[in-house]
């Protein structure tokens, strides 16, 4: 942790109003939220990549071959067509969810930048807002 030198300490405004406290709390809360969202986003992205790989592999698959597709925890023998349509609909759902996540993440990043400006203005070196 960085220690302030004496001059900074004297000039540092030690008065924290309720407004400031609310802003600090909001920043901390948004930080927590964005970390959770980014984790979930990465996971969904991985899932979507798996599905994309799958669908490209299936294009080369034999038409008559039954594919063991995992539903829940068991495998079900499905025709190529049925498998492909299931994969397509899952890909769509995932894309929509990924979009929602990234819009939320962008919104939160914006809010955090605004709060940063406010808080740095009031507290300058007395506060650390970087991750």
């Amino acid at each position: 942790m960085k220690m302030l030198d004496q001059q900074d300490e004297d000039s540092a405004d030690t008065e924290v109003t309720w407004e400031d406290q609310k802003n600090i709390n909001a920043f901390s809360r948004l930080n927590m939220r964005i970390q959770n969202l980014e984790e979930a986003y990465e996971e969904k992205k991985k899932e979507k990549e798996y599905l994309d790989d799958l669908s490209s592999e299936l294009e080369l698959a034999d038409e008559d071959e039954l594919i063991k597709y995992r539903v829940g925890d068991t495998f079900v023998n499905l025709t190529l067509d049925a498998t492909q349509s299931r994969i397509e609909s899952e890909q769509e759902t995932l894309s929509k969810e990924l979009e929602q996540f990234s819009t939320k993440i962008d919104g939160i990043t914006d809010e955090m930048s605004k709060l940063k400006v406010l808080l740095y203005k009031k507290f300058g070196t007395s506060i650390n807002l970087e991750r």
Partner: protein, 179 residues
């Protein structure tokens, strides 16, 4: 100073220190700091608790979803005359072939060594309900976690300010005494 209220699940709100001088006199600083530390550790304990609950909910939800997917699949295949060919998990790494002819009922494991037979549509309703309530609980836990985070931040800021105030006072006193 803000009033001490509680949030919907009964978590008390942390006191906010407006002006340090008004909140505590010089002699009480140590006692105040100790009290703050106590409250802070209580909040952190609650946070750990909630994080555990959140983890268990987060693992339950995909399980319910998988079961629901399977039931949906069975419902969508009800009309087809052919039996469904599956490989299911007999044991951890052991699978077996099964042929399921037009399923009309499923058995749902309800926990506590209880399993009940349901028609596929009833099963679907039950599972969707369970999924819905699990998701609502998760939302509540998230809300509580955010509220706790606010209180913990407030307490930490309070502690820092009281401590700084004390350091400043001691320095001023020392300078005044030295002159």
């Amino acid at each position: 100073m803000a009033q001490l209220e509680a949030n919907p699940r009964g978590i008390p709100q942390a006191p906010f220190v407006g002006k340090v001088e008004e909140f505590t006199t010089e002699s009480e600083v140590e006692g105040t700091l100790k009290k703050f530390q106590e409250m802070l550790s209580k909040y952190k304990y609650m946070e750990t608790h909630l994080l555990q609950r959140k983890k268990s909910l987060e693992s339950k939800i995909p399980d319910i979803k998988k079961t629901l997917d399977m039931v949906d699949f069975l419902i969508s295949n009800e009309s087809s005359p052919e039996p469904i060919l599956t490989q299911y998990e007999l044991n951890d790494t052991l699978y077996a072939h099964a042929s399921i002819p037009s399923p009309k009922t499923v058995n749902l494991w309800l926990g506590a060594n209880v399993m009940l037979e349901y028609s596929t549509s009833e099963a679907r309703t039950l599972l969707s309900q369970k999924l819905g309530s699990a998701r609502t609980s998760l939302e509540q836990v998230d809300e509580d976690l955010e509220f706790l985070r606010d209180q913990i931040t407030t307490m930490e800021v309070n502690t820092a300010r009281v401590y700084n105030y004390d350091v400043k006072l001691r320095r001023l006193r020392k300078e005044a005494g030295g002159k």
